[in-house]
């Protein structure tokens, strides 16, 4: 592995084709900087989830190369790669037959951390995501609200303290109030933790709120990567479409 380069994750001419016919990604080129929060923004079917899954090797590129820490995903040991990457998804994430504690402790235990270290870490991460340990540790996912489940999902992704975090529309299934709450907490959290985060969403306001840079995904291609300012400024036509929706929404809220 190379020394400290600025690029944590890189996509080089990546194609992803399914069943020899459907092309979900076509010639994707993208560089993700260490420590930034990169949003993958786009409609359903634009290829953003596919892009995410190529990073932790749930999928392999049909063509081109995905590099994590300057090493091709194909050369990484898949298990080691995935354990260096936190993975938080919508809804389906938590294992229903394990308590909150057991869910969060899963990877640390698999990594053979000592019993005490695991217990401490579980307490720490739950506190980090705003779930007081005493109250929630022994509850089962079905006994939690949607928001609480997402917090635990995030805690689980953070448990082994991975340098990279992948999040696939984690707040998508929540009601607007809870979503706003979690978004707020996430941006606070993100300032405390230095991690490279790749965040998938179709929600423009969420993208603008949480992201350092926004990668616009359209038809399996990256249509451009913009900083917040660039995104809000007068520019791209494609961006304009998204922006209009955003403005529409925020204006309606002002009333």
């Amino acid at each position: 592995m190379n020394g400290q380069s600025d690029i944590a994750i890189e996509f080089a001419h990546v194609d992803y084709v399914v069943d020899d016919k459907r092309s979900l990604l076509a010639d994707l080129n993208l560089s993700i900087h260490r420590g930034e929060v990169l949003i993958l923004l786009g409609r359903s079917g634009s290829g953003k989830t596919t892009t995410l899954k190529l990073i932790n090797r749930l999928l392999d590129p049909t063509r081109g190369e995905v590099r994590v820490e300057n090493v091709s995903t194909q050369q990484w040991d898949a298990i080691r790669l995935r354990r260096s990457i936190g993975y938080a998804v919508q809804e389906v994430g938590l294992f229903p037959h394990y308590t909150v504690e057991e869910n969060v402790a899963l990877i640390p235990k698999a990594e053979r951390w000592g019993k005490q270290r695991v217990a401490d870490r579980v307490e720490e991460t739950l506190a980090l995501v705003g779930m007081p340990h005493g109250e929630f540790a022994k509850r089962y996912p079905h006994q939690l609200s949607g928001g609480q489940r997402q917090r635990v999902g995030l805690a689980r992704a953070l448990a082994a303290d991975p340098p990279i975090l992948l999040m696939d529309e984690p707040f998508g299934a929540l009601d607007p109030l809870t979503r706003a709450e979690l978004q707020r907490e996430f941006s606070l959290l993100r300032k405390r933790l230095v991690k490279t985060v790749v965040f998938v969403t179709h929600d423009v306001s969420e993208a603008l709120l949480l992201g350092d840079r926004i990668a616009l995904m359209e038809d399996g291609k990256c249509a451009g990567v913009f900083s917040r300012e660039e995104f809000l400024g007068p520019s791209d036509q494609r961006v304009r479409a998204y922006l209009d929706i955003y403005r529409l929404n925020s204006r309606s809220l002002e009333h």
Binding site: K53, N56, I79, R82, V89, P96, L106, I107, L166
Partner: protein
């Protein structure tokens, strides 16, 4: 003498034979689960073999129990001792429901959950232990339940080849033409099956958490 008096008078014997019966059942169920559950899991990983394995299992199940005992009798090490033979035959019968249900249960686990588990970095073995088996457990237990009831029932026939158990009462009662004796074997066996069925059913419900 009425049946209850009979049971009271012979309770030591009834207990002895019941324990013998249970031993036969316990051994066969143990073996069937030890082989059947891994086999069921194996079938989920190797779907090509599924047809042969399940097909063979099916054939074995179709053979009438007494016939299966008879077929195994000449087999050297097995036929020498009735208990060995019986446990083998019973285990063969218990195998199909267990293998089939394990296969169904494990392959029925939500692929989305498995994907998350994989994405988190769990190995195949860890996924099996932490995700697939626990989530498939209610279905697997369903197979165990069916197998247990079958085994308890077929074990009564084992007395015909000298394995002891509650069937001995039944055969003795038939020879003596004495209903009390027959019932002393039949009723505990039936009770055993009902209890096993009920108990495993309770466990099934307990582990079936609302999602």
């Amino acid at each position: 003498m009425n049946f209850l008096e009979f049971v009271s008078k012979h309770r030591a014997e009834i207990l002895t034979l019941s324990l013998e019966h249970l031993t036969l059942v316990a051994w066969s169920m143990g073996i069937a689960m030890l082989i059947g559950i891994p086999l069921g899991v194996y079938l989920t990983r190797h779907p090509k073999v599924r047809g042969i394995v399940l097909g063979t299992n099916n054939v074995v199940q179709t053979i009438p129990s007494l016939a299966l005992f008879g077929l195994l009798l000449p087999v050297a090490w097995l036929g020498a001792r009735a208990d060995r033979l019986t446990v083998t035959a019973l285990a063969l019968y218990a195998l199909l429901p267990i293998v089939r249900n394990t296969y169904t249960g494990v392959s029925g686990v939500d692929p989305a959950v498995l994907e998350v588990a994989k994405g988190m970095g769990l190995t195949q073995r860890e996924m099996l232990w932490h995700v697939e088996l626990p989530l498939a457990a209610p279905v697997i237990l369903g197979g165990v339940r069916v197998a247990a009831v079958i085994t308890i029932g077929v074990a009564t026939i084992a007395a015909a080849i000298g394995a002891g158990g509650l069937g001995e009462f039944i055969f003795r009662g038939l020879a003596m033409v004495d209903n009390n004796v027959i019932l002393a074997g039949a009723i505990p066996a039936a009770l055993m099956a009902l209890i096993a069925d009920g108990a495993i059913g309770i466990v099934q419900r307990m582990i079936q958490r609302p999602r």
